[in-house]
């Protein structure tokens, strides 16, 4: 019997090529094609300006330069603004940029001209020769300036408000007014960014012999890019193939499509008849891809003596940058997901999404949830401090209970579906977390540390994460005559180990050897119907689709094998790629079944020779019976009624240095529930990576724009991403598995979990160590130092462990 692979720590198959330097990322492609051309982009040095004139006359004189485009050179749909991908009725003033700026630039980094040359160095030389006359306009930088609206980003968007959205369940304001206790909090988070190690990249090749365009893109959605390229270039969809090879991390930023370069590269390749490559450099990634996180929140909450929330009213302002290609996904997620595992009796949320003259904002791992979690968890901590209660008690008083699932919040989620949680057991998770981090023993530890003159604090934060959003994914499973199984699913992969996790599912479902399964992702030639890899949806969506497709292939295999073995299907089992009649010696290889499935009888291999001993099919009927197809294949799609909801809780113990105000992580604990685990090793890896990104977001990362809209830290030297020296030395992880009833595998998705509670959990722990409220993140040592000075008159925190009541 084949050992069960689902749930096992199977080593990853993709590692073999990565470890040998044989991965194929976009910039690795076509390197030996002498016809390959390279592109570079002229980007705006100004945050807000009108373009008076662009002079490219010096460019083509340069040896090696092949072509240059400005907006004037674009025609048809390419000259129109880029698509607004996810329109929403409340996005009343959605605006998108042009592939190349037309008349106006709205952020530093906006693409103005596109140069193609024999070499990237030469293309950059050429870019430097382009002369642009600007008429400077005053920029709007930051949420405060956007709200003040003394100036606007777009002339036709009053007050910089792109969208205003409100949702309410019950009557929050009345409930707060009637509540025994109320609190008000203002909570801010700054901009950060995905910053994958590989930036964006696109290669395109036009084949005049077949009139086909092939585009390779480092994207999180091949089908999305394909649709955009076809539409913008006026090509039939059937003429465009998009392939996503290995991708060096995405974390959200690569789900945006089309990036200007994703259109300009194919345009250039088709126009010039030569392959063209664009590889973003690090500075370009900072100033011209996307950021996230910046939001300011105002909270009013009413609660009873137990800390039960009776009414919660949240107002917040979201900085979406200069354009809104990806709609309102991020603030909608904040507005709904801030509820976490709790059930406020009455909830109202309203947000405004604001234009600023800074680079666009699109989902970054966690996508609006870190902000929401920060808001809710800071509120829980504030309630606990006010009532003088343990912070875990207040949370327990507000938890949705295990018997209350499915739990309806009476709100609409980002996918347009009801916000209804599928499953979870929050009290059990909290019990595990307290145990894991040593919550109940912490006061002893604090005293011990205080005796040594050391200052420590503990914090916890809980979250619920809507995962596995629809609408669908599909899969195709093909059992070849060799017995090898080829699987294709359309979504892409950026390091999550899909080739391994999906192969585990297929091996188990079909009963074949793991080594015999090969999975292809993100290739529109193999699976043209797909959505993409984001929102922790890959395992849920494609995993389920792959399982269903494998079941179909299996059904067919059993039908044919039953006929060949003259047995009944119920008596058959498949293990290690062999179908056998239970309890007998009678068996047939799956590869041989694959031959039998196709009445084309040429004995070109061993499997076909073997097949000649069996006879299947009714000789009275056509060789391929009506309703049947040749080949041993299965194809299916999975489309969920609504999102799954994973959840988790993190706790951290920090030490704050009395002199330098540096924050050191002493212990980090995670309890995580993403339903059934396909490969715990991969899930834990995702948590490790998420926690590191969260530590960065909470303590170091911020986009330092000056008032003129220049990003002052657009390099790895200045934007502080965690190295090994900044992350916890170990992370204690415990899993809870409450399976989702919404999909056949009971899985929920785990990609973003690690990052969601970071700002909240660190703020809580620092607050606990210092004894004054922490309301803005990230927090640098110098900021903590300033806060200490501001709160210097308050009592010694080592003697008053919880924050003073507001």
């Amino acid at each position: 019997m084949t050992t069960k692979l689902f749930g096992a720590k199977v080593p990853r198959v993709e590692d073999q090529r990565f470890l040998r330097g044989q991965g194929r990322y976009v910039d690795d492609l076509l390197t030996d094609d002498p016809r390959l051309l390279h592109a570079a982009v002229l980007r705006s040095p100004h945050a807000h300006a009108r373009i008076v004139d662009i002079d490219v006359s010096d460019v083509l004189d340069l040896d090696g330069v092949v072509a240059v485009w400005t907006w004037e050179d674009l025609t048809g749909p390419m000259a129109e603004p880029l698509p607004l991908l996810i329109p929403h009725p409340t996005l009343t003033h959605g605006r998108t940029q042009y592939a190349l700026a037309r008349e106006e630039v709205n952020y530093v980094g906006e693409a103005i001209a596109f140069v193609v040359a024999v070499d990237r160095y030469v293309a950059e030389d050429a870019v430097a020769r382009i002369r642009v006359d600007y008429e400077h306009l005053q920029p709007v930088v930051g949420i405060a300036a956007a709200r003040a609206a003394e100036r606007t980003v777009h002339d036709d968007v009053p007050d910089n408000v792109g969208a205003r959205m409100e949702q309410e369940n019950g009557d929050a304001r009345a409930a707060i007014a009637a509540a025994p206790h109320t609190l008000t909090l203002d909570l801010d988070i700054e901009r950060s960014a995905c910053t994958p190690m590989e930036g964006r990249g696109t290669v395109a090749r036009w084949d005049p012999d077949t009139s086909r365009l092939t585009v390779w893109s480092s994207t999180q959605t091949s089908t999305g890019v394909r649709g955009c390229v076809a539409a913008k270039l006026g090509l039939d969809l059937a003429k465009v193939d998009v392939i996503t090879p290995d991708v060096g991390g995405g974390f959200g930023v690569k789900v945006v499509h089309p990036w200007p370069e994703e259109l300009l590269v194919p345009l250039a390749a088709k126009t010039l008849g030569r392959p063209v490559k664009y590889t973003e450099d690090r500075r370009e990634h900072f100033i011209s891809s996307a950021h996230e996180r910046a939001q300011e929140h105002h909270v009013e909450v009413g609660f009873d003596d137990e800390g039960r929330v009776l009414g919660l009213d949240v107002e917040f302002w979201h900085d979406h940058g200069a354009y809104t290609p990806y709609g309102l996904i991020v603030p909608i997620i904040t507005s709904t997901q801030l509820l976490g595992p709790y059930k406020p009796q009455n909830y109202r949320v309203v947000f405004e999404s604001l234009y600023t003259n800074t680079v666009i904002v699109t989902p970054y791992r966690g996508a609006g949830r870190p902000q929401g979690c920060f808001v809710m968890e800071r509120t829980m901590d504030a309630i606990a401090a006010y009532l003088g209660k343990d912070r875990t008690e207040v949370r327990s008083a507000n938890f949705i209970q295990p018997d209350e699932f499915p739990y309806e919040h009476g709100l609409i989620f980002q996918d347009g579906r009801e916000l209804t949680y599928d499953s979870g057991d929050y009290p059990a998770s909290l019990a595990k977390l307290k145990e894991l981090v040593g919550w109940d023993e912490f006061e002893d530890f604090r005293a011990e540390m205080a005796a040594q003159g050391r200052r420590v604090g503990i914090g916890l934060a809980c979250y619920v994460e809507g995962t596995g959003v629809g609408p669908y994914e599909g899969a195709h499973v093909h059992i070849e005559t060799s017995g090898k199984v080829k699987v294709a699913t359309g979504l892409t992969t950026q390091g999550q180990g899909h080739q391994t996790a999906f192969a585990q599912i297929v091996a188990d479902t079909l009963g074949v050897r793991f080594e015999d399964v090969e999975v292809t992702t993100g290739d529109t030639r193999k699976m043209p119907y797909a959505v993409g890899t984001f929102a922790s949806r890959a395992a849920v969506m494609s995993g389920s689709a792959i399982h269903l497709a494998a079941l179909r292939a299996k059904e067919k295999a059993l039908r044919i094998a039953a006929e060949a073995l003259e047995a009944s299907e119920e008596d058959l089992e498949i293990a290690d790629g062999v179908v056998s009649v239970k309890g007998t010696d009678a068996s047939i290889d799956l590869g041989t079944v694959a031959v039998l499935s196709n009445p084309l009888r040429y004995a070109f291999d061993e499997a076909s020779k073997a097949a000649t001993q069996f006879s299947v099919g009714d000789p009275g009927k056509p060789p391929v019976a009506e309703g049947d197809e040749p080949g041993l294949e299965g194809k299916d799609f999975y489309s969920p009624p609504r999102s799954t909801f994973a959840n988790g809780m993190h706790a951290v113990i920090v030490e704050t240095d009395p002199d330098t105000a540096e924050i050191t992580i002493l212990k980090y604990a995670v309890v995580h529930d993403c339903g059934h685990l396909i490969n715990p090793m991969i899930v834990e890896g995702q948590i490790h990576g998420g926690v590191a990104q969260g530590v960065g977001g909470a303590l170091y990362e911020r986009m330092a724009y000056d008032e003129s809209g220049q990003l002052l830290n657009a390099s790895f030297m200045d934007f502080l991403m965690p190295y090994v020296t900044e992350v916890p030395t170990s992370i204690d992880i415990d899993h809870l598995e409450t399976p989702s009833p919404l999909n056949p595998l009971g899985i929920k998705g785990a990609g973003e979990a690690g990052v969601i509670p970071s700002a909240a959990v660190f703020a809580a722990a620092i607050e606990d160590a210092e004894g004054f409220p922490i309301t803005a993140m990230p927090i640098s040592p110098s900021e903590l130092f300033e806060l200490r000075l501001a709160h210097a008159d308050e009592p010694d925190p080592t003697e008053a462990p919880t924050r003073s009541t507001p």
């Binding site: 190690m197 991969i682 990576g689």
Partner: protein, 166 residues
Amino acid sequence: MSIPGAEQLHDVRLHVNGSVHEVQVPARRLLSDALRHDCGLTGTHVGCEHGVCGACTILVDGRPVRSCLMLAVSAVDAEITTVEGLTEDDGSLSPVQQAFSDCHGLQCGFCTPGFLTTITAGLADNPDPSEEEAREMIAGNLCRCTGYQNIVKSVLRAAELGKGDE
């Protein structure tokens, strides 16, 4: 690839992974670009081009060097090892590579070649690092995916595997 026109080209002979690559490059061509685009050794990755991320780390005469901070013309007399050259002669993984596979020390794999070369050199210096020393060994390389815990484990595991080889 040669660049036509005014730019003066230099004949450069690069010794990489035991083979000789004759390339013609302008003086300004980064070694990272020469390896990737002229020699076709795309295993070496470029994450920042300003010497901070470590993704482009290669071994130059056995020492870890950021190939984005070196010009191809200055590498003429050196013995270069890239990630492609780390595997054993029989094609099996080196202890460091094997350790990464054992410990799930990589996710997207983009930073991995720089870690593998850095650690290979680090273990040559210090074959038996403590956990603290293992962390120090990789403290100059950025990884956005793994959170580093498993990379630290990989260093220690590689040391173990390396000892087994002796």
